[in-house]
Symmetry: C2
Subunit: 432 residues, 2 copies
């Protein structure tokens, strides 16, 4: 069998076994899948020499609002109330499809350059974004979250509902682009709406993406409203009976974690955003002890202001240690697992991506571990987690196709993308 | 007057006034100093076009053990006890001057590439490191900390004492390289030793660099030993009567902060290291409210594992917000001030560096704000703090001399530096 691509001489972190690094190893790719992993160099149409470099699974950003890239740095250091109601919501009401697309493309450019291959995204105009994702060649689970506030709410007229139906019709739950369904949060819709969203999840085998217990206020007010925490309320109405991806989980209690774990649910930990908005610090170690599948997300750049998952990887490891006053909490491998294996599971892609193993899609990245700030190297896993940044990613491949070769984005015209954001979207954001 | 260098078309963050950004501005340099700041383009021997880029003061790393670069990634995720006694101390006992120099040079390479122009360093073999700093063209305040444990301690035979005396003789407190004096920490020497170190500080006008209240254990045990917190104990013995630079300050109480502030002392906040070693999170906002001059440090890479101050800048802003549950805590400008103006003050260089203003040394950096992950830009200060990394620094200049031009380190042979670390020092670290 002639391979399409062979990456040779790599230090491979396959993420198939704790702490495992395969030195001087080749990864062979055929028809977008990993067809060989081992010490030999089978024949291939194209050979990439990875000498001195680390090859690992591409990263998975499990909670993003990618198009918010148009608002990067637009609203920092405000109170949460002012940030949302004076800044973010008014801008979002002004953004049209073209502006949103421009932000989504810029965000994908940043994600690809910093080693992310797949993302779970909650935002507007997702049918249009889906086409851009396909064209660019990433993977994504896309949703537009239902928000049903006020008496006049009309489910069938809701843009989020219309878009979700369109996504569900056009995309299944098996391809590179998938339709998730989404409840924005406990406090932004009543249980009868949750049940309607859940019906989609049942019918289409879709993952339900939900903001959960991000702030103390939200968590406590749910108890007044339902006599239950947000997680317990969602559980009561059956929402966790299908796969659920919760974002944040900063204020989860032990019982919430038990419920999520027993239902096989996932929590996307977003440490940068949670700190920046003053929401707090999620207790990742406790979630993991309870058996929750914890993955990582950047949230939108407006509360970050970056889509570089390497920041979240390092910060999640650091915060767990700092909170527990224990330097052995959340070791490097666990942090990396959150960004790969666990993210894949949260996206319903556990057997498809997040690992380098025969049969998995060739979704992988190469890290330029020859760079001086990454040397010397005693343990490539520590190097990747504690020393590397997204800027050290010198190759990003999705389904065997190189999207970033260390110099150029091969499927995005970045100058055009920047022009769209700055000439078209920026004046809209500014309200000009 | 013909300038040596003119940097034109820059977005300048001068750090002379809260929030100030000077667009389309030129910085003129003559004899290593800033001679012009304004909209015009006076004649210069060399012109650098900074169109679309941010120019700001070079960063100051106020607490480092630079040579520990030879141990990058050697000992992660261990308990503090095991990290120190099984890993770090045995290695340090084996490191000779050549190995230490190799680590110091690699560390300086990383600092220069990531925008640091000056650092306060506590380690061994500092007279040799001082010569390397001079040759490479950075600024540094160097010290070797006195540790006096056990009955047999002989002050005059102590390597740290011998090196400190040499540094004090060879370097004053006004040049690019300066001699600081150092007490390692409260728990590693008795007050009679502190007084001897303090005599140097008085005689030479030197800054005293001290690890302070890094861990809860250290802080509480001092109270048992002295009936006083570490800061109060140092104050009692007069150590704060000359300028003091404390590192960490994680467990400081209000009274400690008041003492440090009233003596004009500085605290180098090292958030990455404090989290990674499980030491805790210093309360920067409370320190600043008390009037303490808070600056930033990376600590050694063995507990970081990076010398990129941009990480500390962003993390200090994030942690302050997360701890206070208040997104307005420690705004971007304050975080940047800690890494520039406040660091300069902590080094005794308040009128020399940390700002872009006529008469100051031309210690400045340029950030490639044309990079996609930094765009769009609504506020360059937010861009620098929340989106930029050290890898976005495309020029580092110290006293008017370019040390990094975005492609090459002009005063370090990086291949030779890496060879020294990996061929010479790495086997020593590994005990081979």
């Amino acid at each position: 069998m002639m391979l399409d691509t062979l990456i040779k001489n790599a230090s491979v972190i396959p993420m198939t076994e704790r702490g495992l690094v395969l030195y001087g190893t080749s990864v062979g790719i055929k028809d977008g899948k990993i067809a060989y992993l081992g010490p030999d160099c089978p024949e291939a149409a194209e050979v990439i020499d990875a000498k001195g470099r680390v090859v690992m699974p591409g990263l998975i950003n499990a909670h993003a609002h990618t198009a918010m890239c148009v608002m990067r740095g637009y609203a920092d250091d405000y109170t949460l109330q002012s940030w949302l109601f004076d800044k973010v919501f008014p801008v979002e009401a002004r953004l049209d499809e073209r502006a949103i697309l421009s932000g989504a493309v810029l965000g994908m450019a940043e994600m690809i350059r910093t080693g992310t291959v797949s993302f779970s995204d909650m935002y507007f105009c997702q049918p249009a974004v889906a086409k851009a994702v396909e064209r660019i060649g990433m993977k994504a689970n896309l949703c537009n979250a239902v928000i049903a506030l006020g008496d006049g709410y009309d489910f069938d007229a809701d843009r989020a509902v219309i878009e979700t139906r369109k996504l569900l019709e056009e995309y299944g739950n098996t391809g590179a682009v998938r339709a998730d369904v989404a409840i924005h949060a406990e406090y932004t819709s009543p249980p009868e709406i949750w049940r309607r969203v859940h019906e989609w999840a049942v019918k289409h085998g879709a993952i339900t993406h939900i903001h959960l217990s991000e702030t103390a206020k939200e968590h406590e007010e749910a108890k007044e409203r339902h006599g239950l925490s947000p997680a317990a309320a969602f559980c009561k109405y059956g929402i966790m009976d299908t796969p659920v991806l919760f974002a944040h989980g900063v204020w989860l209690e032990d019982e919430d974690m038990r419920l999520i774990a027993s239902h096989g649910g996932s929590v996307a930990h977003c440490p940068v955003s949670n700190l920046k908005l003053g929401s707090g610090m999620a207790d990742v170690r406790r979630m993991k002890d309870h058996g929750v599948n914890v993955c990582l997300g950047t949230d939108g750049v407006c509360s970050n202001n970056s889509l570089d998952l390497f920041e979240e990887i390092k910060l999640s490891a650091l915060l767990a240690k700092g909170e527990a006053l224990d330097p052995t909490a959340l070791p490097a491998y666990d942090a990396l697992e959150m960004a790969t294996v666990n993210g894949a599971k949260a996206q319903g892609r556990a057997n498809e991506t997040g690992r380098i193993a025969p049969g998995f899609d060739a979704d992988l990245i190469m890290i330029d571990t020859l760079a001086p700030h990454l040397r010397p190297i005693y343990d490539p896993i520590a190097t990747v987690v504690y020393s590397a940044h997204g800027s050290d990613v010198c190759m990003t491949m999705v389904r065997g196709r190189v999207l970033w070769d260390g110099n150029d984005l091969l499927t995005i015209d970045i100058e055009d993308a920047l022009r769209e954001v700055e000439s078209y979207a920026m004046p809209i954001v500014r309200g000009e």
